[in-house]
């Protein structure tokens, strides 16, 4: 069960491991048979998944239409470049704003819903955005997508960094991922973080204790939509275009799948593991067989059946088992000495 206590270090031990892997990736990617661009997509989806898990794992609200806010961010960034010539950082801020506005509006309709009705409403709204992305051809380019949004240079006054190389762009994305991770880690350990977990455990009781449940649900939904928008904007930079596919039910389902297969319900790091597993499975299985989604789907079904808490849950069980064994040995040792 995903519970946090009020006190937590600013930077935890797992976080240091994560940051070390994140920041050193381009150095050993080639040696491990991976490539820089793969790292970019993985880190973008890690940002997306961490924000999504705030909603799914911590607040217990399943959204099956989050691709919409991701996509809105991607289109928002693209349109900001095409019409406003906004540059990298303002473009990303606008992408985040687009995600915030879209999810904030939807959350107005959702925040007093529970359970199955909440889930189905997120699907309906997600489909509306997907549909608009396809049909508003003048704005979004329809099914072809919004193309030719070239990666910009970041101008720091004294010097410039071009994001055209994957190496430079990877570090820009990784830096944002570090910031988002620190921020979300603080958030879930804050009083607000306690409150959203109270909503997950028992919404009615949380309301009786005096929490403004509607307002908490609205805020979490909007916040995760904003992070999805940011991630969508980044994906636009990576792919130099935005596609309606990122908003489909299929894509929205995949992010839920990634978060859960990693163990979003039991660990802050579940989404990170899940995204990495997904991309490695795609690349490794994809190089063996064209039908990799079939095998990934079967793997996912097996995880849901036998270890629904995902990889993080399995890891937690393993650690607990090792610890018990050690204690058991100590006890047995003591008994022999007697």
């Amino acid at each position: 069960m995903l519970t946090t206590k009020g006190k937590a270090p600013i930077v935890s031990r797992q976080m240091l491991v994560f940051f070390a892997i994140l920041l050193s990736y381009p150095l050993w990617a080639d040696a491990a048979g991976l490539y820089e661009y793969l790292g970019i997509e993985i880190v973008i989806f890690i940002i997306y998944a961490l924000g999504f898990n705030l909603l799914l794992g911590y607040t217990g609200l399943p959204s099956f239409g989050h691709g919409a806010y991701f996509g809105v961010g991607a289109y928002g960034y693209g349109l900001a470049q095409l019409y406003l010539d906004a540059g990298f950082i303002p473009g990303l801020l606008l992408a985040m704003l687009a995600g915030t506005v879209a999810s904030g509006l939807v959350a107005l309709f959702l925040s007093h819903r529970r359970g199955i009705y909440f889930a189905l409403m997120t699907i309906a709204f997600g489909q509306v955005f997907w549909f608009l992305a396809i049909k508003l051809r003048g704005l979004t380019g329809g099914e072809d997508g919004l193309l030719n949004i070239f990666r910009p240079d970041i101008d720091f006054g004294l010097f410039q960094i071009s994001l055209k190389s994957n190496f430079a762009f990877y570090y820009a994305v990784a830096l944002i991922a570090v910031l988002v991770t620190l921020l979300l880690w603080r958030l879930v350990h804050s009083p607000f973080g306690m409150a959203i977990q109270a909503v997950r455990m028992n919404e009615t009781r949380a309301r009786f204790v005096g929490y403004q449940v509607w307002w908490i649900k609205w805020t979490v939904f909007t916040l995760s939509g904003a992070i999805a928008g940011l991630a969508g904007g980044l994906l636009n930079v990576a792919q130099e275009s935005a596609f309606p596919d990122t908003m489909s039910l299929h894509a929205s389902g995949l992010i839920v799948m990634m978060v859960l297969i990693g163990g979003g319900f039991v660990s802050f790091w579940g989404p990170v593991v899940g995204v990495i597993v997904y991309y490695l499975a795609r690349d490794l299985l994809g190089s063996i067989t064209e039908a990799w989604l079939l095998w990934y789907g079967l793997l996912f079904m097996a995880v849901m059946m036998f270890s629904p808490e995902g990889f993080a849950g399995g890891w937690g069980k393993l650690v607990a088992w090792v610890r018990r064994r050690k204690q058991g040995e100590v006890l047995m040792g003591g008994a022999q000495n007697d």
């Binding site: 309709f109 819903r113 009705y117 309906a124 709204f125 509306v128 839920v256």
Partner: protein
Amino acid sequence: MSAIQPVLNESLGMEFVTNLLPHLINGLALGLLFALIALGFTLIVSVMEVINLAHGSLFALGAYLAMVIIDPSLQNAGPIGLWYLGLPHLLRYAIALIVAPALVAVVGFGLELCLRRTYGKKKEYGLLLTFGAALVLEEAIRLTWGPVEQFLSVPKEISGAFIANGLIYSTYRIYAAAFGIFAIVLVWLFLTKTPYGAIIKAGAHDSEMVRALGINLPRLQLLVFGLGAALAAIAGIILTPIWGLRPHVGVDAVIPAFLIIVLGGIGSFWGAVLGGLLVGMGVAITGAYASAWSLLSMYLLLILVLTFRARGLFGKKTALEA
């Protein structure tokens, strides 16, 4: 002047209605079949509390299996194969209409057996298991029958078109609407007039109590899932000649089904039927005036209804919200 005016209005109104009539029939056919998909879906949700995201894949699987049963490649399979191919097209179609849903029901049984491990845990696990199953089924379909569009051949008795009052009507759409009514009535009779139906309804209301009364709940769940899967497959066989047969056609079916059960109220039979008709008519009528936007109408309809009636048209407060 004053005497002529109403007559003129009336005749204009009549013309308006007759021009719209083919669209209304399309809407009726679409709505009834949507209702059929939604009925299977709502049965599964109410008895097992699982949103079956694989429902669309079962829909597609039913259609593909029917395609194979109607036109199998048996040219080299000896006398029995040739004898089968020599049967009238209509007879093979009728066989497909029975055998394909039965096969899909068996797939549904398998899925329910997998789902069993998630009962009593978080609802999301069951839902995600069916999402995984949807991926698997869709990929399996793509591997078996290829990604290109296929055709489910329809016997000539129920295809073609006829002209009445200067308007063209498609025979198949009328057949589809009639079949939809027939199937819905059959499901209604099964649920209300047979002891099995009573047990299913009781199971949807309070499955613990049903078990306490000594009814074999696991077997009931298995049967309900199979029935839901078979209904999806039947709808698939009837709808895909209109829509075309692609591996991801299921998504086009499962989304309206979601919307319809939320619109009508989860667990409500007449809610699903009315919701299906509303969505079907909405799509068809907007399709007559602004075809590009026809699908948007159903999302707007849903958002409109739910803003005013939180549990849909006929929904009651259930355990599903906890």
